[in-house]
């Protein structure tokens, strides 16, 4: 077991040796304390990594020679929701930066850069390892789109429309909280962390895809800052105006209502997971955030949480 300070301080070479469970523990360690925006920005400056430093040459060999067709299909299917997810969270974030305190805006500039870098990470992976064609980032997105589930538009279309709503008044506290619930709590805190756990556990147990493992583990460490920012934002918003809790609830009602419309079979088994395990993982991820941050939910939402179905995307 690595110590959590190794997680905090590793460079890309060191990240390759980290276990995803330690990185997930690192995401949650600070949730009770919730660091301030300036502290998170300082951490970003130390943890920023160079996506062009990743070496995918062994990944190419693993992909072509060691993984089965079934494993490749499952991996592409699950990662496509992340490829498009990273792009979506990147382009929808600037509008959120227009509101909030100056510290929040400065921190936000770092998260926008993180999300852009994550988009480049998937662009490189799909181009260099999976072998998808394209001259531009959009070309590669278009090539991987057929692997994206029809239900991606649920949470990510919701985020796009909430960003549009926020654009009308970037300082509107209720619109900011609704947007933050979709982005930081659900897409990052539940969906993204679950996909990270699933794909990175697979890579580690099989000893496959070291370039992907390194880059996606570094992405997960970035996610720690994003989720901690988001939970801090939601907690502070509700402390300032307790009525905003109702905005979190209404957003969760929509998010959980659109979960469970699976349009494609996810070949989770070929990556070593059962749907029930994924369901439990997602519920656990959501509960950890809600309890650590002190967001109470009424019985009808508790029932919806208990019925969560596997949904794999992230950003």
């Amino acid at each position: 077991m690595t110590s959590l300070s190794d997680v905090a301080d590793s460079d890309l070479r060191g990240i390759r040796d980290l276990d995803i469970d330690d990185v997930l523990a690192y995401v949650h360690r600070d949730l009770k304390r919730l660091p301030g925006y300036t502290e998170l920005y300082k951490r970003y400056l130390r943890q920023r990594w160079d996506v062009y430093e990743l070496d995918f040459s062994q990944d190419v060999v693993d992909w072509r020679e060691r993984m089965t067709q079934e494993e490749r299909d499952a991996f592409v299917g699950i990662s496509a929701g992340f490829h498009h997810g990273e792009r979506q969270v990147e382009v929808e974030l600037p509008v959120f930066m227009l509101g909030g305190s100056e510290e929040s805006k400065i921190y936000m500039s770092s998260q926008i850069e993180d999300e852009a870098r994550h988009t480049v990470f998937f662009d490189r992976f799909y181009r260099e390892v999976v072998g998808m064609p394209g001259d531009s980032v959009q070309d590669v997105l278009d090539a991987s789109f057929e692997h994206v589930s029809e239900t991606f538009v649920g949470p990510f279309g919701l985020l796009a429309y909430q960003a549009d709503e926020l654009r009308k008044d970037p300082e509107d506290p209720a619109a900011r909280v609704r947007y933050g619930t979709t982005y930081f709590l659900w897409i990052e805190g539940v969906l993204a962390l679950s996909v990270m756990k699933i794909t990175l556990t697979y890579c580690r147990e099989r000893g496959f895809l070291p370039g992907y493992y390194t880059g996606f583990t570094a992405t997960c460490r970035d996610e720690a800052r994003h989720v901690q920012f988001g939970m801090r934002f939601l907690r502070d918003s509700v402390q300032e105006d307790p009525r905003l809790l109702l905005q979190i609830h209404e957003t969760l009602r929509t998010i959980l209502a659109i979960n469970g419309a699976a349009s494609r079979r996810l070949a989770l088994e070929s990556l070593g997971w059962t749907p029930e395990e994924v369901r439990r993982l997602m519920i656990r991820q959501l509960h950890m955030k809600l309890t650590d941050v002190g967001i109470a939910i009424p019985p009808d939402i508790q029932d919806m949480v208990a019925r969560i179905e596997p949904e794999l995307a992230g950003g």
């Binding site: 498009h84 979506q88 789109f145 029809e150 239900t151 991606f152 538009v153 649920g154 990510f156 279309g157 919701l158 796009a160 429309y161 909430q162 549009d164 709503e165 609704r178 209404e250 957003t251 009602r253 929509t254 209502a257 659109i258 469970g260 419309a261 699976a262 349009s263 494609r264 079979r265 179905e309």
Partner: protein, 134 residues
């Protein structure tokens, strides 16, 4: 039959009321849509940015009860607008989910959260009506 004509509006109403062709996706998806549609009551206005013409679809208890063309969508619960080019892309088979994701179709008026509670029902209705033979 040209799109956004009275004749097309009636054909669109009949087509969305009949529902989408259920192929290629898991039963869980279609079951979700059935649940979302059951008892659904709301008015959608779908407009073309350049011409300012809207197709107004009135859903009542899960049935598409009326369709009309108007230049004033103020009575609708949800007003959505796309450019003529986007409508043309949809007719040519563009993925409606992608059109929403890239905000080529914008919700100009209406509550975002309640709109999304029926999102796949809306997406499939949009696919159905935008691909009508014209």
């Amino acid at each position: 039959m040209r799109s956004f004509t009275p004749e097309w509006a009636q054909a669109a109403r009949a087509a969305v009321d009949a529902g989408p062709t259920r192929d290629g996706k898991l039963p869980s998806y279609w079951n979700w849509i059935d649940r979302a549609r059951a008892g659904y009551t709301a008015v959608w206005a779908l407009g073309v940015r350049e011409s300012g013409v809207y197709l107004v679809l009135t859903w009542k208890d899960g049935t598409c009860a009326a369709a009309e063309l108007t230049s004033d969508p103020s009575a609708a619960d949800y007003v959505l607008v796309a450019s003529q080019a986007t409508w043309d892309e949809l007719r040519a088979g563009a993925d409606p989910g992608r059109v929403v994701m890239y905000r080529q179709l914008r919700l100009e008026r209406g509550d975002v959260l309640t709109f999304f509670r029926v999102i796949y029902f809306f997406i499939e209705s949009l696919a159905t009506l935008s691909r009508l033979e014209t």
